[in-house]
Point group: C2
Chain length 261, copies 2
Amino acid sequence: MDNERQIDRKAFEPPYIQLVNILQDQIARGIYLPGSRLPSESELCRRYHVSPMTVRRSIKHLLRRRIVRTIRGSGTFVQAPALGGVTFNLEEFHRLFKDKEKTKVRILDVSIKKADETIAGILNLNPGEPTILIMRLLIRDGKPFVYHREYLIYDPARPIVEAELEVTSLHGLFIGGGETNLKRGEMAIEASILTKEEADIFNTDEILPAFRLEHIFFDFNERPVSWGQFICPGDRIRFTTSVGITNNHNDEAGIDGSGHE
Amino acid sequence: MDNERQIDRKAFEPPYIQLVNILQDQIARGIYLPGSRLPSESELCRRYHVSPMTVRRSIKHLLRRRIVRTIRGSGTFVQAPALGGVTFNLEEFHRLFKDKEKTKVRILDVSIKKADETIAGILNLNPGEPTILIMRLLIRDGKPFVYHREYLIYDPARPIVEAELEVTSLHGLFIGGGETNLKRGEMAIEASILTKEEADIFNTDEILPAFRLEHIFFDFNERPVSWGQFICPGDRIRFTTSVGITNNHNDEAGIDGSGHE
DNA sequence: AAGTGGTCTAGACCACTAT
DNA sequence: TAGTGGTCTAGACCACTTT
């Protein structure tokens, strides 16, 4: 009997989360193996005394975590963990900027620079038009960690405020609080090797692998506003993730709609 | 007036998707700028003649795409695009395995190998116990693309079937259709440099940067089943993603519950 | 006190799949 | 035809924020 566990209406967790956990635990214990069918939604309604909408919400959670897969007219099936739909996020990268205690930002250089062919092409300018080049170094525990180089379109109406160049600016780039006129961004991550200049900045002669995180932002007129790169030696960071039933039930809480805590 | 556009109940797209698109377009056109408040849910109900649950569903979509942010008791606010919550997925990697026309798998070696200290530690074996080592090379358009090296725990009950070593096996790893006894997996991605042996495999003398995608899978007894790495030179792949309002409205369709197409 | 988002109900209709 | 998932309604109560 797996009817034992029921939903506690007085509990802190709302019913749909409880149902997610019940189903997830049953799958984790092997009661429903990958490939097998879960009880139908109407069956779950009866078993746990909740309404169809509540069951659907729970199922949708499992769907989004790729723990199950639904086939209309057929049923809901347990999904084996797979690399295919795996996602990596920039949380770990983001954390760097969060605790301002340990992380210092050193501004290496700020200058007005005329766009060369490449930069002009990217920022949709004519070659020779001015851009602002900012070069920053993020230092953690006294050691250089990330090198950031960014070209901004030069806007005389918006003078360079020194404060903007501090952590806050990078913080805003990650949090999204700073600039209020950005519509969208695109980014790419590459594996590369530090150039000589970059190696100098990191105080090393070694040949070091590095992540290169490229980003470009557009305003509401679809015009490029900035283009830049974060460069981080490969021995300083790795991105991790997991698939299937993890012990950490709370991924994305607050975004998937479970914002009750 | 932005009341013009209404929901078409005869349209192919369900009302909640239409509402998502309406709101998203309004944000994209700058009618609601980052930081500003969207109409309240009850207001949207009145304006578009839909029920509260439908409005909530639409809002939840925008939430998940991090286009808006909700504050209980206060409202729903447009969010500026930010690097912080960005996710990269393995789609592009995955596509390699999909079209079996262009992609060939060459099995370099399959052998029983006694676990050394490292592998024993990872797979929770005693040093000296046997493992199966599989080394494969993925070739695309005649050129080596990805090198895969995987250690499996040796299970006499499950002999090595040659077919399993072909694309299907890797395909299963990505699709999740093959193995039916896996509970969860963990993976990490690193920037590294090809070792000499790896460089040999890729027929090069150059010092090449490479992505190293490490993966480990566990069975329902929480015991490790396999550990391996995909190694892909950095000039052969890059991972891309976007934030904010993109023209591609259909990310994650079918998983977020919009499985109507 | 009024407004807002978060959750839930008890039904309903539809498109699809299996038998 | 019966069962399944996908969507929708028209309310309701709650916790929270703003006024």
